[in-house]
């Protein structure tokens, strides 16, 4: 870079005037070629010319200005990467011109102060005003070139940093938007266990608003979650791991996934991701309850059967074969009911997992019910129960699966017989009700209190009283009726009074095609 051929620049009088007005187009082109654009401000034309020659030889694009005013005008037309500004003597104070140039360039132009007065105080002063470097006149070409290149390098760094910062700001905005739009709650704690970030979802889940100076215990009064945060913080150094902890937040059930936040491999805090698992949790609870109920319902008849068998096996009734037969008959009844329960359970399960083959087709409800009535006739006759069906003239069309219709009405008719009195009646009546068919199944049986009706359509609910004690049932019939009907936007309700009988009303959408 040193140029031994070049004379020292000390206000040399050049042969050629410095072209103060290089075209703007060439300057912009210079920028594109990564050429350094230099603005030389000096009242001495010879000085400007000397500097121009040296810098142009280095590939710079140089413009000159004799005074501060001209410099600002030239600069506003074509900005420079580097400006050489005299400390004084250009009709404007060097510090003022520096400040102006920096302001107009948005701090992108790098200013190098030139001065014959080499005082430290002056250098400090202009540097404080924003100048980057200080060149003492007279300076050698090498010193000049070095200073300009150094300044140009600084300019490039400034631009790169700006670009980087703007990209970073953009990314920050993007990450913040991402975090805020997440379906999961996000909370970040620093190493001092203080929350430093919370997205709106986390605020919603935890029922609180983020504010400075919050503590871990403010967010997680739940000891397990707080302890897990602590544990992750403490073990982050040895083995960064993610912990999963359930958290109850009011009615909601959350799953916290807690992982360490590492900065350069060092623990810097923890990131807590909160996921709403209320629905799966509730489903799990329901499933557990159902399984427990099933276990109970399976064990009850088995206990009764085994108990009878044990009594028989003691031999204490060997002299009373009629009693033994009676007990065996009951074992058979209970065993059959158990089998029915298992069938119902399997049906419910296969229906839930969509394994039941269903064919939705136009069906005549009155024909379906007529065949049901026919089927139950023998059973009803045994107890002298009058079974009848009334339906409007013409077919009562519905769109349904035959198996589903059978299941709905078999359950209701079978109940109507089981819970009826001998010589009673069971009446099925189809009527038109707006867009639906209504089927009323009316018995003359034991009826139910309002409390008994309330739980009637729940799984395993059976009305239990001395009046029902000999009647077997799975406790799944009416629950299944309700479930199957729900699949057709239909519904079932009950009207009943103790000892006065019950009417089950089924509402099923009419097929209007």
């Amino acid at each position: 870079m040193p140029d031994p051929a070049a004379p020292a620049v000390s206000g040399a009088h050049g042969a050629r005037p410095l072209p103060d007005h290089v075209s703007a187009a060439s300057l912009i082109a210079a920028r594109d070629r990564d050429q350094v654009r230099v603005l030389v401000v000096d009242s001495e034309e010879g000085m400007r010319e000397g500097i121009r020659r040296i810098l142009e030889r280095r590939g710079c694009l140089v413009r000159g200005a004799a005074d501060g005013e001209t410099a600002l005008r030239v600069f506003s037309e074509c900005p420079a990467d580097v400006a050489l500004v005299p400390l004084s003597g250009a009709g404007m104070d060097g510090a003022v011109l520096t400040e102006q140039l920096l302001r107009r360039s948005g701090n992108r132009t790098v200013v190098v102060i030139t001065s014959a007065r080499a005082s430290v105080e002056a250098a400090v002063e202009v540097t404080r005003q924003g100048a980057f470097d200080f060149l003492v006149k007279p300076f050698s070409p090498e010193t000049l070139v070095y200073a300009v290149e150094h300044a140009a390098q600084e300019g490039r760094l400034i631009r790169e940093r700006e670009k980087y910062l703007s990209e970073l700001a953009g990314e920050r905005t993007l990450s913040r938007q991402l975090i805020n739009s997440m379906h999961e709650g996000v909370v970040v704690f620093n190493i001092r266990r203080e929350p430093v970030l919370m997205n709106p979802r986390a605020e919603h889940f935890l029922g609180t608003h983020f504010r400075e100076g919050m503590a871990l215990s403010d967010l997680f009064p739940d000891l397990d979650a707080a302890a897990a945060v602590e544990a992750v913080l403490e073990s982050a150094h040895a083995r960064p791991e993610c912990r999963l902890v359930p958290l109850a937040a009011g009615e909601r059930r959350l799953q916290c996934s807690i992982s360490p936040l590492l900065r350069d491999g060092e623990p810097g805090g923890v990131i807590v991701i909160l996921r709403d698992i209320t629905d799966t949790w509730k489903a799990e609870q329901d499933k557990n309850r159902f399984v427990s109920m099933v276990a109970h319902e399976l064990k009850s008849p088995l206990s009764a059967i085994i108990n009878y068998l044990n009594v028989i096996l003691t031999g204490m009734f060997d002299d009373n074969p009629a009693k033994i037969r009676e007990m065996l008959e009951r074992c058979k009844v209970r065993g059959e009911a158990l089998l029915e329960l298992v069938r119902d359970l399997l049906y419910i399960n296969s229906r839930d997992v969509g394994k039941v083959d269903r064919t939705i087709e136009p069906l005549d409800l009155s024909a379906v019910l007529a065949s049901q009535v026919e089927f139950f006739k023998v059973q009803a006759d045994k107890r002298r129960i009058a079974l009848s069906l009334e339906s409007p003239p013409g077919p009562c069309m519905v769109k349904a699966d035959r198996g589903d219709l059978d299941r709905i009405f078999m359950n209701l008719i079978s109940n109507g017989i089981k819970y009826n009195r001998d010589r009673g009646s069971l009446r099925l009546r189809i009527t038109e009700a707006g867009p639906d068919w209504q089927v009323a199944v009316t018995d003359t049986g034991i009826g139910m209190s309002e409390a008994e009706q309330a739980s009637l359509f729940q799984e395993f609910y059976r009305v239990k009283s001395h009046k029902t004690s000999g009647i077997t049932g799975t406790g799944l019939g009416l629950a299944t009726v309700r479930r199957v009907l729900a699949g057709y936007n239909g519904q079932v309700t009950v009207q009943s009074r103790p000892d006065a009988g019950s009417t089950f009303n089924v509402v099923f959408p009419r097929e209007t095609a």
Binding site: N307, F317, K464, S469
Partner: protein
């Protein structure tokens, strides 16, 4: 002869246990509901009560036991609870500890189906304790 009251909503279980215990020489009363059970307890003054846990409701047995203890002369009657409820239903049936017994008002919790000899053994055990205390 010692009097036993069995309260259970399963008619067949009642019948089987009644047949067995009657053959063993006990006077057995049965009831299908809490209400009926309380009436029977009051009129028959049983020496031992055997009650089911899940009757009309999942905790009917506990309610029944609590109410029995309030009846005149029955504050200390031995109550054996039998249940088909699986353990994970949410209760911890621990009748072996004093606080557990106090809370449940129950002396013993038996899991259905209770073997007949086991049931008989328990009844005899409580009857002899009762006789010794008297």
């Amino acid at each position: 002869m010692a009097r036993i009251l069995i309260v259970d909503d399963d008619l067949d279980l009642l019948e089987g246990q009644k047949l067995f215990l009657e053959k063993k020489g006990y006077v057995v009363h049965t009831a299908l509901t809490i209400e009926d059970g309380l009436a029977r307890a009051l009129e028959s003054a049983p020496d031992v009560i055997i009650a089911d846990l899940m009757m009309e409701h999942y905790d009917s047995g506990f309610v029944f036991c609590k109410k029995v203890r309030e009846l005149p002369g029955l504050a200390k009657v031995p109550i054996l609870m039998q249940t088909a409820a699986p353990r994970k239903m949410g209760f911890t049936f621990d009748a072996s500890s004093a606080p557990g017994r106090e809370w449940m008002k129950v002396d013993e919790v038996l899991t259905k189906p209770v073997p007949l000899e086991h049931l008989l053994g328990k009844i005899e055990q409580y009857l002899s304790t009762k006789a010794r205390d008297a």
